[in-house]
């Protein structure tokens, strides 16, 4: 069952065409790794999917309905498509629990007790119940990102977008976040994952797409793209990531 259908997506920033025509279908339960060099449009693609950036062309269909441009509609769309950022973007003036509850209280208008119960459940899911009363300033990078994931999960998204979730983390903290993402994958969460962690992508993804020049240059199963890449640019990209070894 297709959750999200993207057709003819294009995005320009001034003179710079970042996305030059992308078609993509995301089916329920799929885990798509999005790879590519810097500037290949990976983040922009993700940000277009939940309309954090407005596409210049193309249509995006969520659950069979084409998404329009109106602000009120987009707010609803973003409840169904969650996003986890490279810089976490936690709200510093709220505790971890407060951060996770915020969407439920303000957007879903849940009662405080319901929101709190749900938030505690999500924090438990990412292993941070004991940090519920802590402010982001007192959390490590890995903990902050896990809270960010819990915050996104609390909204019950049909699709989760991960925009380089571990790129801003110290190496020893990367593992705890990848562990949470892997657990979500095993539970059947539908996700798009922009990442440089190629080994992780290989083990977790059901499909890999490689972006270059603003289009999908190559796509296939992890085995096909990462182990037996057909196109030259894909091979060159993988060769540069020497630490990727199977």
């Amino acid at each position: 069952m297709t959750i999200l259908a993207v057709s003819g997506l294009a995005k320009r920033f001034g003179d710079n065409t970042v996305i030059a025509g992308i078609d993509l279908d995301v089916k329920k339960g799929e885990r798509i790794a999005v790879l590519g060099a810097s500037g290949s449009g990976k983040s922009t693609l993700l940000r277009c999917l939940n309309f954090m950036e407005m596409p210049d062309a193309g249509t995006i269909t969520l659950g069979g309905k084409v998404i329009g441009r109106r602000d009120s509609e987009l707010a609803l769309v973003r409840q169904r498509i969650g996003m986890v950022f490279q810089q976490f973007n936690l709200f510093p003036h709220m505790t971890a629990l407060g951060n996770v509850m915020e969407g439920l209280r303000t957007v879903r208008r849940m009662s405080r007790s319901d929101a709190r119960a749900r938030a505690e459940k999500e924090l438990a899911r990412v292993g941070l119940v004991d940090k519920a009363a802590h402010y982001p300033a007192h959390l490590s990078g890995g903990q902050k990102q896990r809270v960010a994931i819990a915050r996104a999960l609390a909204m019950d998204p049909e699709l989760l977008l991960f925009d380089e979730p571990t790129s801003a983390l110290d190496p020893e903290l990367v593992g705890e976040v990848l562990g949470v993402i892997r657990a979500l994958a095993e539970e059947g969460c539908t996700m798009l994952l922009v990442t440089h962690e190629l080994g992780f992508a290989y083990h977790v993804a059901t499909r890999v797409i490689f972006l270059a020049d603003g289009t999908i240059h190559e796509e296939g199963t992890p085995d096909e793209v990462l182990k037996r890449p057909k196109k030259q640019r894909t091979q060159a990209f993988l060769a540069r990531h020497k630490e990727f070894s199977l």
Partner: protein, 226 residues
């Protein structure tokens, strides 16, 4: 012949001075409170995409920053009643003038504070489905306000000094009371010296409190270590 200091006339009129001080605080407090609310409104208007909203607000702000406060006060006290056909007491004129004037200042502080909240906070808020207004209200403004507290305290202190201008329109603030007493007792030296000292003590005390409060904010606040 050396001057003979004599503070007793001042002391006998201490109640007048006290009442004057109360009135000074009344005007300052009113102007501060109204100025804050109005200032936020101005700031949001200035930030609005709608030209019809941002331009008039911008105009008012510019006018109030480029004309002398005393001229504004005179205008509101002498001119406005004739234009609008309403009665203006000195207190009202002072309250209106200094409220709008403070608002013009606060608007810029609010605007700078809101803009200084990093873009990622808007992203985080929108990504969980918040509308622009929800994001502003729940996420951006609370963070902006914390950063603006030093500027607010600074403005409050300035306002306490600026409100002495009301003495020129015969509002019985501390300075006006001092002037009255000085004329009555023929002891301007003692009277004005005492008045100056009262202002000094008050404003210095408030300054120190403000600085202590700022330091406490800085310690507990956002020492974000990304």
């Amino acid at each position: 012949m050396a001057y003979q200091w004599d503070f007793t006339p001042v002391l006998t009129n201490a109640d007048l001075l006290a009442q004057g001080l109360v009135n000074t605080l009344k005007v300052t407090g009113t102007a501060l409170a109204c100025g804050l609310v109005l200032g936020l409104a101005f700031a949001l208007l200035r930030l609005s995409q709608n030209r019809l909203a941002s331009w008039p607000a911008g105009f008012i702000i510019e006018v109030f920053r480029t004309t002398p406060p005393l001229v504004q006060l005179f205008w509101f006290f002498f001119a406005l009643p004739l234009i609008a056909g309403i009665e203006m007491t000195p207190f009202m004129a002072a309250a209106v003038t200094f409220s709008i004037q403070s608002a013009a200042f606060f608007a810029e502080v609010f605007r700078a504070g809101i803009v200084s909240v990093e873009r990622g906070q808007w992203d985080g808020a929108r990504a969980i489905g918040m509308t622009h207004n929800q994001a502003l209200r729940r996420i951006v403004l609370p963070q902006a306000v914390k950063r603006m507290i030093p500027a607010f305290m600074e403005r409050a202190i300035e306002l306490m000094k600026t409100t002495t201008l009301v003495a020129t329109i015969a509002y019985a603030d501390l300075l006006f009371a001092a002037n009255e007493i000085a004329q009555k007792t023929f002891r301007p030296l003692e009277t004005f010296t005492v008045a100056a000292l009262i202002y000094f003590v008050f404003i210095t005390a408030f300054s120190l409190l403000a600085r202590r409060f700022e330091r406490r904010l800085a310690v507990s606040g956002e020492s974000t270590v990304h």
